[in-house]
């Protein structure tokens, strides 16, 4: 298609890359945190709960700024990681980090809800059959909450596709490196007459998200049928 310039295509590709990575990498952690919140009780649980929710409450700019302070090459954590060659600043990895953090609350909530909906009696049945807690989790809890995990992942992906404020604050807007679709859209909107270019990108991003959504619905339906014990 030639109605998008190469610059725009790069933004689209980058956005996809960033969102997919943000979703996939944060998924295991999201599952872990959601499980901890759903099933364990430990001191500081409400604190963890709050921290997870934080990126949702804070203006994205603030989150981005905090990220810059902490994860920048000069920041305490970022500096440490940089020693091991892991650099976020001005890289697409940083964009993924920002997107992942912004999407995290959504992911955790959806997954946590599903964990809470799993019947503890089935987990007990697993235990009596010799499955240690980890195995019960892997063979009962996790598969039974797959619909919620899929839902959480798609929410996170969509959010990552749309994330802008924290990303641009943390890793700026470098074409080919950190210029995601939303950054590009923002740039177009800043100048008089940029609306039509912006609209094209909006359409692309919506299309991508819709495809992801449809896929997730299909997976979700199949999984839900299984979990409901129906033959599918």
């Amino acid at each position: 298609m030639n109605w998008l310039g190469p610059e725009e295509w790069r933004a689209v590709a980058l956005s996809l890359q960033v969102s997919v990575w943000a979703t996939l990498v944060s998924l295991p952690l999201g599952i872990f945190v959601a499980y901890a919140l759903a099933r364990w009780s430990f001191p500081g649980k409400q604190l963890l709960n709050g921290i997870v929710l934080l990126p949702l409450i804070l203006p994205p700019v603030v989150t981005g700024y905090l990220l810059l302070l902490v994860m920048g090459t000069q920041g305490p954590v970022g500096g440490l990681l940089a020693e091991f060659g892991i650099v976020f600043a001005f890289r697409w990895t940083g964009a993924a980090l920002a997107a992942g953090i912004m999407a995290f609350p959504l992911m955790v909530r959806a997954i946590r809800l599903s964990f809470e909906a799993v019947d503890a009696k089935l987990e007990q049945a697993g235990a009596t059959l010799g499955a240690a807690p980890t195995w019960v989790f892997l063979t009962v809890t996790l598969p039974m909450s797959l619909p919620g995990i899929v839902a959480g992942a798609i929410l996170a992906f969509a959010k990552a596709m749309g994330e802008f404020g924290a990303t641009i604050t943390f890793v700026s807007n470098i074409p080919g490196q950190t210029r995601t679709i939303p950054s590009a859209i923002y740039a177009f909107l800043q100048v008089p007459g940029g609306e039509s270019s912006a609209m094209k990108l909006v359409l692309v991003s919506v299309a991508v998200a819709m495809v992801a959504l449809l896929l997730s619905e299909m997976i979700g339906r199949r999984v839900a049928a299984r979990v409901g014990g129906r033959d599918a």
Binding site: V61, G64, Y65, L68, L69, G72, T73, Q74, G75, A89, F90, G165, I168, T169, V171, S172, N173, I174, T178, S183, Y186, A187, F188, L189, Q190, V191, P192, G194
Partner: protein, 227 residues
């Protein structure tokens, strides 16, 4: 409606004006592009101060300005900043080895095609013939403050920002000022809007031009365009 970068100055002016005139002024701060679009969509605004002449032009074409009320209110200048309190000064000229100074680092700027500070900065660098060397290393932010933050945290070794911003940030120092002729003048045009008529409008516009406002603007690093 005023550009967000004028927040502090406007707060002060608002207070004084209210005290002296008895009128109640409400200042809405946001990015110039946002405000301009809102005005296009019928925002209940009386006065618009833009950080970007482009948006003012657009409104003028749409006939949204009260004819003859537009004037350039403020000037600003563009500076090169570096992290630390007393970074070494450089001489901004076509010979500046900016690329060399940057090394692997990034040059923090506002969006070079969208945000005024970025547009001016790019123009200046182009004029000086420096742009091609550094273009690939520019990190663009959505606004000047974010660009400044990159420098302040040491993430970027250099940044191009407004003098007004550089003044207030302790963690950076101005290492050079771009020659005024290297870019089109940085002006903040102000105008009375056409759609509404409040008696105090003109009064406030006049006040903005007055000595008290000038003092306030200057306290915050702006240069008031002389009339």
């Amino acid at each position: 409606f005023a550009a967000a970068s004028m927040a502090n100055a406007m707060a002060e002016i608002e207070e004084r004006f209210e005290a002296s005139s008895g009128h109640d002024v409400v200042v809405a701060l946001a990015g110039s592009s946002v405000l301009a679009r809102q005005i296009q969509q019928g925002a209940p605004a009386d006065i618009f101060i833009s950080a970007n002449p482009g948006w003012m032009d657009e409104l003028e074409q749409d006939g949204l300005l009260k004819p003859g009320t537009r004037f350039d209110l403020l000037n600003n200048s563009l500076v090169l900043v570096a992290p630390g309190r007393d970074a070494e000064e450089v001489d901004i000229s076509p010979d500046l080895e900016l690329a060399g100074l940057l090394g692997e680092g990034r040059l923090a700027m506002a969006l070079v095609e969208a945000v005024p500070a970025g547009i001016y900065g790019k123009a200046a660098l182009e004029n000086l013939g420096l742009w091609p060397n550094v273009a690939a290393q520019v990190a663009q932010s959505d606004n000047v403050r974010a660009a400044l933050a990159f420098v302040a945290t040491g993430e970027a070794p250099f940044g191009i920002v407004y003098a007004t911003d550089a003044v207030a940030e302790d963690a950076v120092s101005v290492v050079g000022t771009f020659p005024p002729d290297s870019h089109s003048p940085i002006v903040y045009p102000a105008a009375n809007l056409a759609n509404r008529d409040v008696p105090a409008e003109t009064e406030f516009l006049d006040y903005l031009r007055g000595p008290e406002a000038r003092a306030a603007f200057e306290r915050h690093g702006f240069v008031v365009v002389p009339h």
